[in-house]
């Protein structure tokens, strides 16, 4: 199987360091947002149980009144706008797969450090396989 790289992944007038910084901004803000959101949901508890006890309104209120959730959404919004900014300067075929696949790996690292999740060999293998797979599929 031969896997060919794109002929010109970057527009000619873009410095590779600037492109790297743009991708890094998307990946870092997205990872921060995902980790904060995950921490918020863990602190709130099982939403299915909350909904069965307090109804849909109770579940929505529990989520919206959690400060960690607001912080997470703020960073996810930042990630969205940094993605739009990157798309304004770089090709979608480069930005999309690169940011989607890198975020899987940075989330595994951040999940282990900040959320104290048990990222064992099985989860590392899954993150890396899906990372390469998403890159190949989205490319």
């Amino acid at each position: 199987m031969t896997i060919s790289l794109p002929a010109a992944p970057l527009p000619q007038n873009i410095n590779p360091w600037v492109a790297t910084a743009m991708i890094a901004a998307v990946v870092l803000t997205s990872t921060t947002g995902e980790v904060l959101t995950a921490a918020a949901m863990k602190s709130i508890g099982d939403l299915d149980v909350i909904r069965s006890r307090s109804g849909l309104k109770g579940a929505v209120r529990a989520v919206l009144t959690c400060p960690l959730f607001s912080a997470g959404v703020f960073f996810l919004a930042l990630a969205f706008f940094s993605l739009l900014f990157a798309l304004n300067h770089l090709n979608l075929s480069f930005v999309g797969p690169a940011s989607a696949s890198l975020t899987l790996v940075t989330n595994a690292i951040a999940g282990k450090i900040f959320l104290k999740e048990n990222v064992d060999r099985r989860r590392w293998a899954a993150a890396l396989l899906v990372c390469v797979g998403v890159y190949l599929l989205a490319h």
């Binding site: 060919s4 999740e117 990222v119 797979g133």
Partner: protein, 147 residues
């Protein structure tokens, strides 16, 4: 870490996360492609676009995605949910191959195989890290009832 198995309902929510995001994106793409180019000089066209059927359906799917994603994060680890729901990419690629009869290149088939392997790896493991200090199933949600 004990094995934290999922209920059929929780598998259904993971499937919703996996499918609704790529389907929602596809609906937005289809809706936007059907519209004439929108410029900043006419921002009202962007508001009007929200009410066209494909884009409205895409937005509804993405709201559904976010709700089911948050629900999944409330009972499973982030490092379990993200790889597990990446299977949605595979579903969309297979749909485009067998439903829309698009050609899927060798690179993409390789991607499908790798994602499927990765999802298989993570799905065979526990979905939630049990913290030694507190059992997550027993210590949450009572404060919500008082609000």
């Amino acid at each position: 870490m004990s094995h934290h198995s999922l209920t059929p309902r929780q598998y259904l929510i993971l499937a919703l996360v996996a499918v609704s995001a790529p389907l929602g994106d596809s609906c937005l793409k289809r809706g936007m492609a059907a519209l004439p180019p929108i410029t900043l000089a006419h921002p009202g066209a962007l508001i009007a676009a929200v009410f066209t059927p494909w884009i409205a359906f895409g937005i509804a799917l993405l709201i559904g995605f976010f709700a089911s994603y948050l629900t999944a994060l409330s009972w499973a680890d982030l490092t379990f949910v993200l790889p597990a729901t990446a299977f949605g990419y595979v579903i969309i690629a297979l749909l485009s191959r067998f439903w829309l009869s698009e050609t899927v290149s060798l690179e993409r088939w390789a991607g499908i195989v790798l994602i499927t392997l990765g999802v298989g790896f993570v799905a065979r493991g526990p979905s939630l890290t049990q913290q030694p200090a507190a059992d997550p199933e027993e210590t949450r949600e009572p404060e919500v009832e008082t609000r």
